[in-house]
Chain length 384, copies 4
């Protein structure tokens, strides 16, 4: 009997939103089994959550340390292959490091850690152990984002000249919003780190810009804002960008863009044409040309590139969504693990998931934009 890839989860207990998202993403393709979990630091919640998730009692743990230790002692045919960490930012580093130290691959929600130093330490440990870290920059999991990246890479648009990436949300427009659990930890420096909006969504925007364009940000000029009174961390920010090939750009992210849902979108312009993608209509990629009608690329069609097809589950016109994009990251990670388990070489498609390197760049982004925002100097070198 063939075996699924086994996952243990840290965090994601009953009332946590993102835990359920991770579990749906992990289970969608039937390749990954939720084998155990330490779903909460509250033992009662942890146990109840585990039972609700149909886990046997002996695989429900009340701390990540307990889980990692216990799992590492199980026979290879039973113990988990990877740990999925879905806690707030401040609770990423320790469980991730412990997992790596005990021989488990790790999947973490972004941003990878609380500080750049932690991110570098995790990456070093992964490099040292040969274990993998997967980072859920979900938006890079959409088929049309992969199509976009491929077309840019293939030179369809010539040299890239300008990248604009925008991430407006409105859900933190009111102070009262902070009463909800999701909002509360994001606004708390102890749990979120030195940035609020930029850490939470700005990192997604920066990753998307670099992922699609194939470029790297080299200079920034940031203006972070605390718009809602008494908030301790930025809830809004605008950043001018320069990329390593000389292209310029704009990135803005906001959580006080009242009335916006989750409207991350990107525009990339090259010498010969450009592209536009909106996450809220993710199956559509607008491709623009200097002298020809705009083309509308759509998920699930035969004309798409292989990498887009590899990350597509339904025929054209049957929309794929956020959970499918999320599941692509899990699936590719799990298939890479499976390949390694089976002693085969993972394909390029399998390896296409964000990892430790992207985690380090994400933390560098946070630290650089915060520093740039405080500086009176216009351009600030993006250092890692």
């Amino acid at each position: 009997m063939k075996q699924k890839i086994r996952m243990g989860m840290v965090g994601g207990g009953k009332k946590a939103f993102i835990g359920a998202v991770h579990r749906m993403a992990a289970s969608l393709d039937g390749l990954i089994e939720l084998s155990c979990g330490a779903f909460s630091s509250n033992a009662e919640n942890a146990i109840e959550s585990g039972k609700d998730l149909f886990l046997p009692d002996n695989r429900i743990y009340t701390s990540y340390a307990e889980m990692i230790t216990a799992e590492s002692k199980l026979p290879a045919s039973e113990r988990i292959h990877f740990v999925s960490i879905v806690t707030p930012n401040n609770l990423h580093f320790e469980p991730a490091m412990l997992a790596l130290e005990n021989g488990f691959h790790v999947l973490i929600d972004k941003p990878i850690t609380l500080t750049l130093a932690e991110a570098k330490a995790l990456k070093a440990k992964a490099d040292e152990t040969g274990l993998m870290i997967c980072l859920t920059h979900t938006y890079s999991g959409y088929p049309m984002v992969k199509q976009a990246k491929k077309m840019v890479k293939d030179g369809a648009f010539g040299k890239i000249r300008k990248v604009v990436v925008e991430y407006p949300q409105g859900w933190l427009s009111l102070p009262a919003d902070a009463d909800n659990k999701q909002a509360a930890w994001r606004a708390d420096p102890a749990k979120s780190g030195i940035s609020g909006c930029m850490a939470d969504v700005g990192t997604h925007a920066a990753h998307l810009a670099e992922y699609i364009s194939g470029l790297q940000i080299t200079k920034i000029c940031a203006d972070l804002n605390i718009v809602v009174e008494n908030r301790l961390l930025d809830d809004d920010g605008n950043v001018l960008l320069k990329f390593d090939n000389g292209a310029n750009g704009v990135l803005f992210a906001s959580q006080i863009a009242a009335g916006e849902e989750n409207a991350i979108k990107i525009y990339v312009y090259g010498e010969k044409g450009g592209l536009e993608w909106h996450q809220m209509e993710p199956n559509t990629l607008l491709v623009k040309w200097l002298d020809q009608p705009m083309q509308v690329y759509r998920t699930g069609n035969g004309y798409n590139s292989d990498i887009a097809k590899y990350n597509t589950r339904t025929p054209s016109g049957h929309p794929e969504g956020y959970l499918e994009a999320f599941a692509n990251i899990y699936k590719n990670f799990a298939q890479t693990i499976a390949a390694k388990e089976n002693g085969t070489t993972p394909s390029e498609e399998m390896l296409d998931f964000p990892g430790a390197a992207e985690g380090v760049r994400g933390m560098a982004f946070i630290e650089n934009v915060v520093a740039s925002s405080k500086s009176e100097q216009k351009w600030y070198d993006f250092t890692v």
Copy 2:
């Protein structure tokens, strides 16, 4: 240890498209376990498919009869709760009837059977046994479709006056398309029944119109067409409608609408306003008013009705897609089964899935439109 609802699948072997869709939909929420399957009438394919799906050898069957018989002899704590039938139309009735006879609930892809008579027989058996049939009219699983239905039911638009439902696809525009497996059986009367396009997609359109409007079609005037030469079944059709409250309507479905993906959409107009929903942008429901600006209802927002929220998994702006709609049907069905297993009363939300009655109406739709199309009389009574 709590237990998941256990499913056995009939059909859906390696190369079958829809089997994978059913499995993803069933697994998304972690409530249903694929416990066994008879994935193909070809034994080798059946076995290989089962292994690829991580099933133990003793739960991989080579015929549905074998599966149903064997499963019915397992202890209650092991045997499946329901059979999922994902074969072509001509292979729905027998396994469904056998499953009901052996005490299993049944989930079937639409249209429910090959003939109206079979549909009635299945419904009678379900009524007799108290077992349930679930029919995957996927489009009624979308949160915004449920929001639409609720608003109509609550009288937001007053009396409904007109319903227009359109289902253009283009994938059968060429004869050569018939080479592919999906296309082949749909064009074969022995497997598809007396209708092609109307059975395959017209039934979805009719169900959607009745589901949202809360009305029933009472008269039709149909014009079915075979557009591509040498095809044996309709690949296109237009139907004028009358509903039981006096409203009029238009339904058209086509598989030769070249360049269309899967563009089912619906417009409903009442005395005070109307609504518009496009499956290809499923998270948006346009709500129109006589004297006020159009409103854009979107999945995941607090202003939606409870039934829409119950069928939503992600926050607003994180698009849900076809698989989530499909999964809603599986989830609601599984929760209803679980409630019955636990001796509790399933909630209204759980019970909101299409069943035998909708299956019978769907077959009646097929038989009526085919008869109407052949008739020289304008209006044809929709009889069941």
Copy 3:
């Protein structure tokens, strides 16, 4: 000094909506001069209207008969070239016939007359005199409609198989709406003729379908409805269509589609692809292909056909609207008149405006759909 083409207007006094639209359309390009008018059957209104329009007293008339007679006696360098008739349907025929009899070209709002017989009589008179009739089927004046027609004509989509044209409006959803002047005459058989909705907007839809497809309707199956109680004429209707090449189609028009503005749209499908155009976003033409991404043709771009460019005034991205489409009909008509005045041959582009033949087909459409709707027979031959 070169001279503009001179126009005399019948109807369109102070409170009339459509008169102002005609005057804006006529004046946009600076080719046509409003030289005189009989703006109302009410002398006071007629005179006041003329003064407000900066006309000299001696060119303000109080009846169309007076105007036509007086103008015909002026020297050629002063008298008008054409009469523009913007009255309700029942007041089209007499002034048009009188104008033709007195040597003036005629422009009329659609539908051309109150009855098919009148339409034929006007066409006969125009044919006999060599004078021209121009009919303001505005929607055929849009550049992207002309682009669509050209692409169909050039065979881009292969043989046309299906045409769907929809014209939902909501402004007559309430009985109270009939209080307004626009609504009142349209609901009055004495002024509107035997049809309400089909005469008012259905004729536009039918013309658009024939104009773009290059096909002619040969059979219909109509279901006209009076939805709002106590109304005397249809306010809604659905029609199945057959075209002369064997293509099938659907046309519906409604004035009780609550919440809709003026949403005429069309879908045309051929063997190789299809097109979609929405009047409310008129500068966009969606072009769909079997195996390639959809293309978005946009007004004002170099890739458009000459006929589209000829009817475009602004660069791409500077939207053109309803008045520009209307003005194209006036401009082409005026240029054709000017060419005839100058003894030159009008170009194909100039001659591209709807005329008496389209007027006759429009009246035939009205009479046929009304007859079909009353018939119990499914298919009704479209006769002219």
Copy 4:
């Protein structure tokens, strides 16, 4: 006999694009008469252009000086009321100043002059003479822009927190584009001034942001770019903004955004909601709320504000475009002139056109962004 407002045009001869646009805008409403012109500095072109425009020989001039002098000597009942200047930027100041000195109102294409100093001088002369200057910031002429401004002003969104305005065009993506006349002068510092893209389209974006928000830019951080080699002026630029109420913002403009047409769009966010408007779909204004569905305001509906209705010509669903927006500026200006001629007080609606003050701010914008872009300091005070 009532008289139209009389206009004399400077520039806009045969091959000039913008001259024709101005004339269409001026003539649309039948309120303004093109009475004379000095259409080109080339006498032959000037004369031929005048004849083509149906002007009598004695009102066709070969220089603006000649025109202004000659017209000023005509009797009041014949001479023009205002001069419309449609030449490149470097040819705005002299004819405008001469016109003002001779008692004529002035309408000028934006940017108002070549330098801020010239702009101030013109404004001073207008203030001194009591004559008016009208500046064609076309985009503020759209009904939905006026609706947006009104809603912001009425406090519908609470305090404004963020403004994002974007103006991507792609038509200067290639060096070869510079061969065309429109492109050539814009890239020539002698004709365009110290900025290319920012002067040409950035000023529109800045004006739109201030017009709708009712705020004024107080600080900027600009990054102007010359993307296409060998160009002398910026063809792209990104600017961070601070407004006088503390709101932050982003403005970018580009003429190398390959594949974009004329995609100026704006997002404004307040405490309670936000709005979004795209010029390429100008009849739609998206209005977003914290807790309610987004509303879609559309031109021509009864729910719009009076100022929006005042600037609307057609019923809802009959799209208005760029020329209608342009015509609104002409119409309001002409009505204000007419009111002054008649000794009445122009209404608030009539006075709603951009003038000398906006011209000065536009020139200040250009000079400030150029200076900021050269500076290494992050924030640059926006001074006038």
